[in-house]
């Protein structure tokens, strides 16, 4: 995905990074006062923004979401975990545009203008993968740092990053897509073809799917003693704050983290989508 680096040559893309980061942080900050796990996560209405920004601004949304989350952290949850928050939120802005049009029968092959139910379903699918990738990375990171058990945080992040955006974001995208295209600010309008990676991206898509689903499912399974209900058991461990940093969990998830990292190299966003 060379566009993640080549985008820094384009002034409009740099501005879009700042705009996405600022809007994301501006909506995150007021809700810091309503924590879900104090110091780690809160009710995040702002999660509506990353998938929308991703499908509009591509790589600028990935960097913008990561930077915006870091700025938001400065107003309530800044700490060693912010490093993994940065990486996790990077994937939140990356996955939707990287996977759009790449999900076989779920994909419409058209621009994400939210024209019809099939596109809303595809939107929900890419949002789910992005939520899982983000949850896997952040929950694994905090387990490595021995700050919080995987099952407690992972489940909350998946719910936060999937449910609200899956319901609300398609409407926001429907209202914005054509406007942004008219303004010439879609990332595919700003960046020339030679700055965007090309190819079918089958390996990258597979890595993203296996890495994100695998990390969250296996992480929860190990974190809660193999097989109990994720959410409830996660919260039981939540009451046992020193049961973190399990070496078995940390090392088992390393291959999935490697897969997510390699997806950055092998994913190929589609630039040949038909107009909706």
């Amino acid at each position: 995905m060379k566009e993640l680096l080549t985008m820094w040559k384009h002034t409009r893309m740099i501005i879009l990074v700042a705009v996405v980061a600022a809007v994301y942080a501006a909506v995150l900050i007021p809700f810091k006062a309503i924590p879900l796990i104090p110091g780690y996560t809160e009710i995040r209405v702002a999660q509506v923004i990353p998938p929308v920004a991703s499908l509009l601004f591509g790589p600028a949304a990935a960097w913008g979401t990561a930077i915006g989350n870091l700025i938001g952290d400065l107003f309530g949850t800044f700490g060693p975990g912010s490093l993994f928050g940065f990486i996790g939120n990077f994937y939140l802005g990356l996955v939707p545009y990287a996977l759009w049009g790449r999900l076989g029968p779920l994909s419409t092959g058209r621009e994400p203008a939210m024209a019809g139910a099939a596109q809303v379903v595809e939107f929900a699918a890419v949002t789910l993968v992005s939520a899982l990738a983000t949850a896997g990375i952040i929950a694994w990171g905090l387990e490595v740092l021995r700050l919080l058990p995987f099952a407690a945080l992972g489940t909350i992040i998946v719910l936060n990053d999937f449910i609200f955006p899956a319901v609300v974001s398609p409407v926001v995208l429907y209202l914005l897509y054509r406007r942004v295209k008219r303004w010439g600010l879609l990332w595919t309008q700003i960046m020339p073809r030679e700055d965007i990676s090309t190819g079918r991206g089958v390996l990258g898509t597979a890595l993203l799917l296996v890495g994100s689903f695998g990390a969250v499912i296996l992480g929860n399974w190990i974190s809660i003693s193999r097989g109990a209900l994720a959410g409830a058991a996660g919260f039981q461990q939540f009451g046992n704050p020193q049961v973190v940093g399990q070496p078995g969990l940390v090392w088992t998830l390393v291959p999935f983290m490697v897969m997510l990292a390699l997806a950055l190299v092998f994913c190929r966003p589609r630039t040949d989508l038909a107009a909706s």
Partner: protein, 260 residues
Amino acid sequence: MDIYLYVPADTPVHRLDPRAKMAALLAVLLLAVAADHPLLPGALLGAVVLVAHAGRAWGALRRVRALILLIASFSTLTWSVFARGTTPLLGPVEVEALLFGVGTGLKLACTIAASVVFLATTSNEEITVGLIRLGLPYPVAFAFSTALRLVPTFVGAGATILEAQKSRGLDVESGGLIQRMRRHLPLVVPILAVAIRSTNQLALALESRGFRARPDRTYYLELRFRAADRVVTAVSLVLIVLALYLRLFTRALRIPGLLT
């Protein structure tokens, strides 16, 4: 709501190099989470308050005091109830759990206060140049500092749009939390549209001033790493190593009796 926290002043804290302040901030963050016992985060919070006093950052701290108090007290209560110890205190709360809860509340208060003091005593320009001197590419540092600068602008735009929608009859103050969140949704699209539309103007303004016209650029702000900066950085590095040691290699400052 103005969330631009920087307070211009000529204090020893303001005069420190931003790189030294970043090292100190990192040290505080790592030390705060290095132990479960409230002693360490309590002492750190005291140190942060002293630095805030020296840097005249009280105004900035006052503006976020409600947030700090809410997060710290909520955290103390939650962890006191959910954590488990061995010495009963009151109902479901054990002594060790209460200590853990207080410790966690203090950790959060300390990290938020340290971040706010950093932002109150370090201007955007200093953060940008500091990050560049630490090796961050200029466009990335520029995007970061521009985002920091734009946050209050968009919060202001959001407030204006909210007032406009309220004058048209939008009720965002009654009902439960979910209802109020749902009523805020009509604000998202105009805020995003306003923000995105400004992109072309900003890009034109930047390019007309020669943004990235040359690979090597100079900066109006020249940073100088003085003796005080060296001392602060050296102490911070020692504290970072100490924090890692406490967290990873010892059980010092843990709470005996807290169930593992």
